[in-house]
Amino acid sequence: MADEALFQFLHNEVIQYVYKSAENGEMENGRCITRLENMGFRVGQGLIERFTKDTARFKDELDIMKFICKDFWTSVFKKQIDNLRTNHQGIYVLQDNKFRLLNQLSAGKQYLEHAPKYLAFSCGLVRGGLSNLGVKSIVTAEVSVMPACKFQVMIQK
Amino acid sequence: MSVPDYMQCAEDHQTVLVVVQPVGIVPEEQFFRIYKRIVSVGQVSVRDSQRQLYIRYRHHYPPENNEWGDFQTHRKVVGLVAVTTCATAKEWPQTSDRFHAMKEVYGSTLYDSRLLVFGLEGEIAEQQRTDVAFYPSYDDCPDVERRVEDFVESIFIVLESKRLDRATDKSGDKIPLLCVPFEKKDFVGLDTDSSPVSLLLGVKRHYKKRCQGRMRKHVGDLCLQAGMLQDALVHYHMAVELLRSVNDFLWLGAALEGLCSSSVIFHYPGGTAGKTGARKPSVSQAADAGKRHRPGAQEVLIDPGALTTNGINADTSTEIGRAKNCLSPEDIIEKYKEAISYYGKYKNAGVIELEACVKAVRVLAIQKRAMEASEFLQNAVYINLGQLSEEEKIQRYSVLSELYEIIGFHRKSAFFKRVAAMQCVAPTIPEPGWRACYKLLLETLPGYSLSLDPKDFSKGTHRGWAAVQMRLLHELVYASRRMGNPGLSVRHLSFLLQTMLDFLSDQEKKEVTQSLENYTSKCPGGMEVITLPDGMKLPSVPFTKLPIVRSVKLLNLPVSLRPHKVKCLLGQSLSSKSPFIYSPIAMHTRGDERCKKIEFQWVRGDVCEVQLMVYNPMPFELRVENMGLLTSGVEFESLPAALSLPAESGLYPVTLVGVPRTAGNITVNGYHTSVFGVSSDCLLEGLPAVKTSGCMVEVVPSLPRLQLSTSLPRSAHPTSEDLSSSVSLQLFNGESQQLTITLENIGAENLETLELTSKTLSTKEKLLGKFLSWDLQEALSHLPLKPGQSLAIPVCIQVKLDFSGQESLLQDLNDDGISVTGLSISSPLRQVLKSRAENKTAGTEPGKSEYNHVKSLDAVLNFKYSGGAGHVEGYYRELCLGVHVDVEPSVFFTRVSTLPATSTRQCHLLLDVFNSTEHELTVSSKNNQDLLLHASECQRMAIQVDKFAFENVLVPRVEDPSVQEHFTSPRQLEEQRLHAQGRLINSTLNIHWSIPSLLRQGEATVEGVLNQLVLDHLQLAPLQWDVLVNGKPCDCDAVAEWRVGEPVTLEVRLTNHSRTAVGPFALSVVPFQDYQNGVHNYELSDTVTFIGSNTFHINTVDPTESSVYRGALLFLYTGDFYLNIKFQDDRSGRELPAAWFCLPSVHIRALESPIENGA
């Protein structure tokens, strides 16, 4: 799928660029992830506006999360979230067993420590989307076995 | 009916109306006191039954409203309580009459009345009448409430009787038609119409039903008032059926409304009036509610068959058993809607309609159905009530606003409140109520998300609608101005300027500031919190954007005023407090930087500066008056500044100064300004965008301040910033100059200590002697120096540089193989120049600039001084004076050589002196003649000196500050020794030069030019050889004369002044004759004979001992003879320097012996 590859390449290069400019002293090292996440945030805000243009109004939080898992994920990553779990108290775990952006990295433990870099943008994407829908949240991601990853969304009241 | 009662609610339908009014003149305060007491009786439990009676009181009720009493019984006045003051019995009849008159006004509806008389005593007061109560005074009336209760009971009796009367009215056809005021004329004669047509049309039956229906509804009202809720419901239902069938819309609406009211009373025992007028639900009702209420049940359970033309069975208890007549909450609203729509058909029923809307809205508010409530209200707005007075309009809008508030439409509520406010000051009102307008406007603020606290606007995006808010603020300003309170106007206008600055256009900015200045000319704005009469507080509005402060930087004191702390040794602290304390309390999360203590310090009593970078956002010039600092921690005298910032300028630096008056830690909290007549205190913690690198500075106790001035003019030479001033002068090498430094105490403290040190800046030049020297003793004797006094310190500047390196460019005057630089003549490194004469004729002398080049010396004189309280704490100040000397070469010695003098103890020192100046110069030494040198001329001068005993020269301790390194190596020690010797020689020779034309003079030092060889020559040999000829010492040019043929005794004495034993030596005496043409004749074996050997031995001589050898010789011929006493090489070798073996030359003249007679 040609168009998928385009974004993947762009995404990879963005990450490289951000890290290289950190090395050049343009900013502190720990801020790279934040920068990527913020990029994702802004994109997420715009995307959600576009995707929810024609949908009905959401009933509640769960409805919103389901939308993220199904329609949103499909539009962006061409597949749905494989598993959504919640404790009904504001914590949601979205599990994607074959996360598209991690696909190109080798499965297994070899590049595990680099995985967070590749997830930062997507975390921001989710956070931005939720924020524009009126839900304040913190989104983190964890990877145990590539390319599966879990996104954890903590709703803030 | 003209006046709507906006405060009416559904539950008012169950009340009876009692009017309380004053008769005659009653003081208002007293009246209302009694009124309040009466009003407290709002609910009465009727004796012998379980029913509750509710009473509504009014102290003013238009009689027109009474006419609607049949329509809705709670509208008619059934009770009258009159309050009057009567002081004497004479007034009583009059009072009584007035009371009766008053009763007449409401006569048609009045059930009962009472008169309360205050102040009357005496016989009349003793009367026991039920309708009049006498009290001695307003303060002494304990049983008012009880009387009122009794009164209410009596009303109840009448009410009850009427109810029963009507309820069981079996008059059949003769039920009278109840009417509303505007209907009366419509129905005249209808009852008696018995024409056949009307019979056919069933008009009569129609009419009868109408009467029945209306009466039924009336009975329902009465039941409701009498506390019989269920009965009322039944009656209302019946009335609704009846009236619906005859399309009697107005009364149908009333019946529906009655239903609604009863249901409301049933469902909402707490009342629907909102926070005001909440009723206490009666206990019994609540219990009943539990039994009878079934949610959602709406069942009209009147058996239509029960409706007979003969009336209704009075005993409704059977119906009650079956009936659950209460409307469900949704139904209540439906019915209200229906009722209102019916009312709407009658334009004269506008007030009723309005009141019904209001009641419905209240119910909806409780049901939290805001959308429908707003629709009702929307409707209510458009109900036309005819001509309303301004007061009424205001009331109407206020009530609308309140109702919107109740349903949660805050913005709409604010909108209507604003309309009400505008109405207060409508042009048609003769006396506009600005105060009321202002108050209402203030109340609208929350609806527009406008808080009057500027802190709410400091962060994040602007909340609310800027355009609307600005308008509102303008209105507030206008209202407060018209109210006559310019202070409020100033405050609001400042608020507008502060919070809406970004939204104002340039033109608006100008207008706002102009009006602000206008207002502040009457009432300057300040920082106090304004408290309004109703308790609301208007917080202060500091102008943080006029100007915008970008950064605050505390500046260090100028270098000469900075305090330094004496380093204390080994923990022995001079002051009790440690110099650096990091405050652990962070003021807020961003405050770490702010709390940081700055490392420099300020001094009490001295002007300190803080620099602010400000920005003017206005499109015109901004005048800031009275800008100063806000500080805490230390008493600080802020010296205000006034400045004028150009329009929309970039960052502009402003320096605020002040003087700390006590010592301690001072924190700069903010600044205060006065702009447009408004003074503001802006705290830095409220301005998160301001950059600062620390706001806390330690203020050390006061130190004295000295001002330095010098006898020499200040130099134009660029000084480094560390120096407070510098002098520069031009000296010739060897010259010295006195510089008098005057220190004046320009501070307020006494000067107690003073130290002076100097530091020569490192230079490649070899500096001989001491550059700067001074004596501080005399100055120190003036301490402690009081303010205003001064002291003078003389400093001697002396330059002695070594210019001798230039020598290589000069020609040699004499060639004896030795030159100062140590290079032999034949060395290829030496340049052989043209002769001096040739040099002189050349037009420009290429080498001249090189050996005339100026060297410069820089040094810094450092004054450390202290005094006062600062001294106690261990602080001092430093003043630095830079000294820059341009040194021109004066004279230098191109070559030094020695010639032996006639005496072994003396020596001729030959110095080739070169005058490198452009002036004529005279060189002189201690006991010599002056040597005159022309510019660039070199001459030789010879000085005869005594040889020096160098062993006594001690190596001086390293105290010359220019000599930094430690001498450790033997070579360096040797050098030092050389220097010391040189100094000794120099001071002995004391060679001076002077330039008569410039009147300048100086020293010409030989220190650098003496090398080892020369020194050896100059050194007095520690072996002192004395030669005595015939007992007379022979030295120098002393010529010993002796006769021929007579033996001459020769004594050679050796005194050993050295530290080691010397010897043994072998000396031989060799006579010679000097032919004065360079030839020495040593063939004198037959001219001179020795008596004894000419060689003699000296044994070892210990230090400080001497040894003498004696010999003799005999001259056989006359002549001048010299004796050369020389040493023979012997075993001891030449360990000792050759110079030590310098014996004086002996010159003996052998003379003819006088011819003896007799030859």
């Binding site: 168009d3 576009r50 962006v76 | 439409f409 913005r411």
Partner: protein
Amino acid sequence: MTCLCFLCVSRDYDELSSIMAVCIAVIAKENYPLYIRSVPTQNELKFHYTVHTSLDVVEEKISSVGKALADQRELYLGLLYPTEDYKVYGYVTNSKVKFVIVVDSSNTSLRDNEIRSMFRKLHNSFTDVMCNPFYIPGDPIQSKAFDSMVSAMMVQAC
């Protein structure tokens, strides 16, 4: 994923609506105006007031207290409230941005569909604005494209 790379600009090329608004406003979720444009009259501020007070009704409509589920699903809110001279319509996006259109009451040829399509156009343009990377959410809308779209919907001032 293509949406991320390329801004998809979709325009609804409806037939020109015959409805002309007198005031159009876009309100952020925090209830302050992002964009408000009205026909220039003497007292433009009154439109501010009208739209401002209509927010009460909007909030009421979208609050979830006591409403049947079906009411809430639509983004279009319909007529908010009528005043003497105007009718006010509302629309709330999923991102809680509110659009308000004020129409002259005398304009009798109102059809609900036409109002809906005006809102759709607004929503589309707003989405484009939101996707513009140079636009910071929360700032006033200054896009010329948005302006021209709104102008086409407003009564032409004479």
